[in-house]
Symmetry: C2
């Protein structure tokens, strides 16, 4: 089941090629498993080579979109990107201001998008004033890059050269005076070395701290390689917060990549998710910069120019669908469906059919019962192994109860034997057939080789298959003119036992256990393949077990 979900909003332009704008934002929201909403301020016809055309959205319609979202959905984080022109910028600011006034503030990340990487103007110059005057005071964070910082500072006649780490520290502090609660000045276009960082982050100076997520910490000599120890060309983002004396630096190695289209959009969208989830700003910044860095590092080329990031680098798909009211047993159903032919050969084996008719040769049944008696010892040992591998008393006891159940199941075998003049001694000393040893030893081997879940897979084919056979024979017997002989069948007790409440309860508990384990620790594709191989092997061994009974091997 889907848990409570954080809803976030982007107010930005649309990028038809999907790498930037609301598209990058929505992909980032999905990667963070947030619910994404979006307000479009302008449409662009663009691709990885550049912006071919822009269609601005009327001011009133921008306001209407924001209103539609905020009136209906509990938005916990907002980001703004390309705002296009002054009227749109003003209406975004006034609508959000009004909303914050009535409903309280929500983290707002303002990415002051001005010019595209390809040089296209995405914010008309006269709109800068509106952005600074109206929007920045509402923002928890603004995220300018070097060029945007220089534009903003120049517009306020502040020192606007940002060519070094020292410049960045000054610029970030100056940008803070424009009104936002915090500034994350992005360093993608400034060259910084390790020595530059050391020169500003002086020990015992609390005014600059460094987030070393991308670098080896102490006591990590063993990861040193020639490559990481000479990462001299760094990108450093600088975080400066109002009322906090310490500036935080986020350095990382510079990546040589053409997959950088939409980097700023992605970063600010990731920040909106993290802040919307209630994560503090410094940690949110670490998460968002790391997410974006990996998006560049793992991207494959798309398009002919500067391609998009890989937003899904940390997303995987479940092999199994979630448990739902409609299908509470997705794992076992998938196992059975995937082995449908084999499963049918097992649960509708000729042995079963003849047993149901009551025509099964007594010699086959006796051979089966003797071998099944031996098998049940392995089967009980399998659950004992499960108990020995368990983590707590609940699972130790659950496995132990099944051992007791198997022990009582075996009394059916001894009573059948007694009924047909086979002594307890003869039963015990009957040699194991190869089919019995193969199946029994496979259970124990699987249990010794893998974890408890893999052992549960090995134990499932017997538990579920006999449950299926019992139910099938009983339901068939209930039909009019049934082919199954119930009363008077020499094997009635066998059918009663496996269709009875006691055994069927054990089946239900077993199903629930397997499904709960798989849901709590969803398998990767390779782990699922291992489970599947164990299941399939056991269904084969079950079929072989009844072959053995029929041909007395």
């Amino acid at each position: 089941m889907m848990k409570d979900v954080t809803a976030v909003l982007t107010i930005a332009g649309s990028d038809s090629s999907g790498g930037a704008g609301i598209q990058a934002d929505l992909k980032t929201f999905a990667a963070f498993q947030c619910y994404g909403t979006s307000v479009v301020t302008a449409l662009t016809a663009q691709n990885t080579t550049g912006v071919q055309a822009i269609h601005g959205v009327p001011q009133d319609f921008v306001a209407q979109q924001i209103q539609s979202v905020l009136d209906d959905i509990d938005i916990r984080g907002i980001k703004t990107g390309m705002l296009f022109d002054s009227p749109n910028t003003k209406v975004v600011a006034s609508t959000l201001k009004e909303h914050f006034k009535r409903n309280g503030r929500v983290p707002l990340v303002c990415d002051p998008v001005c010019v595209s990487t390809s040089g296209h103007v995405l914010l008309q110059p006269e709109a800068i004033t509106a952005m600074v005057d109206d929007l920045f005071p509402l923002a928890q964070l603004i995220t300018p890059n070097r060029q945007e910082a220089e534009l903003l500072l120049k517009a306020r006649s502040l020192r606007s050269d940002v060519t070094s780490l020292d410049d960045m520290l000054v610029a970030a502090q100056n940008l803070l005076t424009l009104g936002p609660e915090a500034v994350l000045l992005k360093g993608g276009h400034v060259n910084v070395s390790v020595d530059d960082i050391k020169s500003v982050a002086v020990p015992d100076n609390a005014s600059v701290e460094v987030s070393y997520d991308f670098f080896l910490g102490e006591n990590m000599e063993l990861f040193q390689t020639a490559k990481t120890s000479v990462a001299e060309d760094l990108v450093v983002d600088v975080l400066c917060r109002r009322g906090v004396r310490t500036i935080t630096l986020y350095p990382r190695p510079r990546l040589q990549s053409k997959s950088t289209h939409g980097t700023g959009c992605t970063l600010s969208a990731a920040l909106a998710c993290a802040l919307g989830n209630g994560i503090p700003l410094t940690e949110a910044t670490a998460q968002a910069t790391s997410f974006t860095h990996l998006g560049i590092e793992t991207a494959v080329p798309i398009g002919k120019g500067f391609g998009p990031l890989n937003h899904l680098h940390s997303a995987s798909r479940f092999v199994l669908q979630p448990r739902t009211p409609g299908n509470p047993y997705p794992l076992t159903q998938k196992l059975i469906r995937s082995t449908a032919r084999l499963w049918k050969e097992y649960v509708q084996h000729d042995f079963v059919v003849q047993l149901g008719k009551g025509t099964l040769k007594r010699s086959s049944f006796i051979h089966f019962i003797k071998q099944d008696y031996h098998y049940l010892k392995y089967y009980a040992r399998g659950y004992a192994l499960l108990a020995s591998k368990s983590h707590g008393f609940a699972s130790i006891l659950a496995a132990t109860k099944i051992i007791l159940h198997i022990s009582s199941e075996s009394t059916m075998h001894t009573s059948f034997c007694a009924q047909w003049g086979i002594t307890a001694e003869e039963l015990e000393t009957t040699p194991e057939s190869p089919a019995t040893t193969a199946y029994g030893a496979f259970l124990i081997d699987t249990g010794l080789q893998g974890d408890t879940t893999k052992l549960l897979m090995a134990l499932a084919a017997c538990l579920l298959g006999y449950g299926e056979v019992g139910l099938w024979l009983k339901r068939e017997a209930e039909k009019s003119n049934s082919w199954v002989t119930w009363e008077g069948n020499p094997y009635l007790k066998w059918m009663q036992d496996y269709s009875g409440e006691d055994y069927q309860n054990a089946v239900r508990v077993g199903l629930e256990t397997i499904e709960a384990v798989a849901a709590a620790d969803p398998p990767s594709p390779s782990r699922y393949d291992e489970w599947m191989a164990v299941w399939e092997k056991c269904v084969q061994l079950e079929r072989g077990f009844w072959d053995m009974a029929m041909n007395l091997s």
Copy 2:
């Protein structure tokens, strides 16, 4: 690393509230791990309660967006949704037709969106002709719901009542005459029973087949519950293909849910992904209907009206970041970072520091060497257990080589002892300290309880920690005025052995093995927590081992 990715395109309206339109499509594309692009035909200001306003996009700008995408990106699947008006519909059709002519056809799914669930007109009535005449002939599939089917059939003066399954079969065939290669007529607004299906899907009649994905197959008595056996209220989608006599039905239980906003968008987007991935139409339809059904079934309420689906029901996030050139050891780095304090107490233990200085009491070192000799037997047995749990000769041999390595490591212990007058007999008969037994027995217990990966976690702290200590002491010794005494240190051989090429090679192989295993079978959060617990425990036991040496316990 991201694999080759299927790029898909949606041409549709924008839904500010994120539940339908290009937003639902982009979320679906992400869920299918496809690369999403989008062309906006109209903007809507809407939410879960209805559509508040619509802003149509000019025809030329729609064409420009399509051109920008198709000129640059290799699109493998396309869907169309809300097209808004006749000019936009025409320009979409003509642009795609031209593209297909020059570059070959791409699967095109046309969702003939006409009216929103809330009754808002999303396609101007006069545009229907353009959609049918210009777009349908390009479509591999159209996906009308009941209302859209009735509108389309009425426009062509064909029988247009769709109130039963029989009607649906006729309607689907009639819709096929409008030009598309196939029709998927959606049954969300038609009530169908199991008997209705039985009456049309007559055995030995090849003209109707049923996809029973949502129902139990044969030999699945054990999943029967009161609930699933009386699923009388069904939704049935009907697939009809040109040139194929057999109609396919996709029935599923009807869900009682208010989370249905964007159902049609989601279905057609999922179809575009599946077809774009080269999956045949009948299987693609099964995948897409199942994806959409689960989206409704697992949704949590969002908004005050008809809420969105959960598009991320089958998406999970990796606990570990992917292995990248920048960080090829994400698992071990995370383990060490998460236990930084404890790890430091281990690898920079007073024992290590005094050993490096050469000031360590001989009694402590001798006690350590004796106990470490005992420990190495457990450690060798741990790798033997790993070999016994292995799947193939490669891993059997890898573990065996380490056993040989440990055996040769132990000769350092015997030679130290010989040097200090301790006989082999005294060494063998020295009782195990509790710290030795605790650590050694924990290794074996972990190996018996879990799978090979968990055992590798248990074996890692010793391998990596001694590698770290060896490297650290060596690198410190190489500094001028070092606190480490190298030449003349009574423990020089110990430092040489663990910093030497032989042991450091073993560390590199160990790191590679652990990271490769984790990358091939990425852990769920709960599995990672188990690994973490084992790692942390072993680091504690390592620290305890050196405590034991210092206090001669």
